[in-house]
């Protein structure tokens, strides 16, 4: 019966191993399904939502496979624990009755032999010989009984050692079983978290893109302590949110695309007309022979919109546009520019600047 159980353990073990391979295959499949989802998430739209849904399904498959594997492993460990629980032994008891019997019989036979020791009667001599044979048989029994007793004591001693090792192993095995059970519970929590994550990706994909500097719904508006009536402007926000000298902060910098080393931006306004210039240097990838410097001028009319877009021309003559987006604070301005492609030149950047 126990042997059958152990064959079952071995069988389950190989199943568990297959299950680990299976679940890892499903996991790899999930991760390879759409490795660029996070990178592309900013584009938003139905396509991203669909990709997030697909990833959610793959994550659920992977979680189910992992849970199945962990449950199988916990079952295997439970069988180990069960075997250790049932492997206790009943201590053996050694009997001394044989030794006592041999001793008393040998004494009795010896006494009788001694009684007839000097008897010349032929019959008595025959009896003495018979008793002597009996005595020899008893004498040869004693050491064998002592040897067997010693072996029996070794059995008893081993029972103690077994119990000690079994109790220790059982305790440790139970802790390991608890670990596998907890891992199963954690897998369920992780599965729920992944489902929520992809739901949030899909949710965020809806609607138009809102940059990080956008004031999120619910955020308290900035309030001036000494408000003065602002002069009427064409823009919905005060012109001061666009004009002035702006620079790239060296700490807590926010950017998308190439990383700037520095940027200086100047924006002027005159009768609703904007003029400006930008001078910037970007970090290039190691080994790149491109030009890290960007210079351009821009101009245009301010529009009655939060975001202002102006045409630009670089120092090399490339044309493009620059978008000025007021940040959540008065001293923050996000700029987003794109230019025509020129070999070795930076043609696009999205950076949050602070007012000088």
């Amino acid at each position: 019966m126990k042997r059958a159980c152990l064959f079952a353990i071995v069988a389950v073990m190989s199943l568990a191993q297959r299950s680990r391979d299976d679940y890892r295959a499903v996991y790899r499949g999930w991760k390879q399904t759409d490795p660029n989802l996070e990178r592309d998430a900013s584009t938003g739209g139905a396509a991203i939502a669909q990709r997030a849904d697909r990833m959610a399904a793959e994550a659920a498959r992977s979680a189910a496979a992992r849970k199945e594997f962990l449950e199988g492993t916990a079952q295997d460990e439970a069988q180990q624990v069960e075997w250790l629980e049932n492997a206790s032994l009943i201590p053996e008891s050694t009997s001394k009755s044989d030794e006592q019997f041999i001793k008393s019989e040998a004494a009795a036979v010896t006494r009788t032999i001694d009684t007839f020791a000097n008897d010349p009667d032929k019959g008595m001599q025959q009896l003495r010989q018979a008793l002597a044979k009996e005595r020899v048989a008893l004498d040869t029994l004693a050491p064998v009984i002592a040897q067997r007793k010693k072996a029996a004591e070794e059995v008893t001693a081993s029972t103690g050692a077994i119990e000690q090792a079994r109790t220790k192993a059982l305790e440790q095995s139970q802790a390991m079983l608890e670990g596998f059970k907890n891992a199963g519970a954690s897998a369920s929590s992780e599965a729920a978290a992944w489902a929520e994550y992809y739901r949030k990706i899909g949710e965020a994909a809806q609607g138009t893109a809102t940059p990080i500097t956008e004031v999120l719904p619910g955020a308290p508006p900035a309030v001036l302590n000494n408000p003065v009536p602002a002069p009427p402007t064409v823009t919905p926000l005060p012109l001061a949110r666009y004009v002035g000298a702006w620079t790239f902060p060296q700490t807590n910098a926010l950017y998308h695309g190439p990383q700037p080393e520095f940027i200086d931006l100047l924006v002027h306004e005159e009768n609703g007309h904007a003029t400006g210039s930008a001078f910037a240097r970007f970090k290039l990838p190691p080994g790149s022979t491109g030009d890290p410097i960007v210079r351009f001028d821009f101009s245009g009319e301010f529009q009655p919109a939060r975001r202002q877009v102006f045409n630009l021309v670089t120092a090399e003559g490339a044309k493009g546009t620059i978008e000025l987006i007021p940040g959540p604070a008065f001293n923050l301005l996000e700029i987003n520019f794109q230019t025509e492609l020129k070999p070795g030149k930076i043609h696009q950047a999205d950076v949050v600047l602070v007012k000088k």
Binding site: A41, G123, A130, V144, R148, A165, A169
Partner: protein, 234 residues
Amino acid sequence: MIRFVSFLLFLALARSAPAQVVADPLDALRQIADKASSDWQALAKGLEQKIATLLPCDPKSRAAVEEVSRASDARLSALSAYLKASAAKAKADTDAAKRVLAAQAALSGGWVTEHTEADEERAVIEAQVADLKESMRKRGSLSGAEQMLVEIANMVKQRAAKSEEQSGRRESLDSSLGDLVVAYQTRQTALENESALLDAETARWKAYYTARVSRAITECAIINPGPPQRKKQP
């Protein structure tokens, strides 16, 4: 004789089976051996007293010695059956403990794999977090997803830590199970040794009782030179 005693043991076990459906067969063998031993002890202790009142050639005298001899054979056979069964069980236990050790090594080793996998997963998630942060610059509404991803990264980190803790217990458990295998092996060897010594002992008990019966014959022959009378078996 041994076959006959084994058959009796089988009958005794079969008879006791309905009453003790889940009883350990080894326990039953032990009980039978203990009872046979008690029976022999009672007969052996009372033998001298019993034959003291009989004439040397009284058939009851020799029959009494032979009865003790048979009882001795029966108890040694019962003990031998018990020891052989115990040794067989000990061997099965040793083999089982070896398999448990091997199975546990595989299970415990799983924690090392779990730890490695969790570390790898965390690295992948951290790369995803970095990508998502980039995307957040254009789409701030991704911040909820980013927070959730960071939370998942923490969960996986905790998983890695727990796996590492469990894999730390691996060596200790393997060591305990190794000790258990050694202890079972020692027990098996001791029982096999005891069983072999009992076989040798049985031969010497037979020699002793042969000598004892021989003494009874001699005692009769001294008084009555004719062949000793023997009570017919019914």
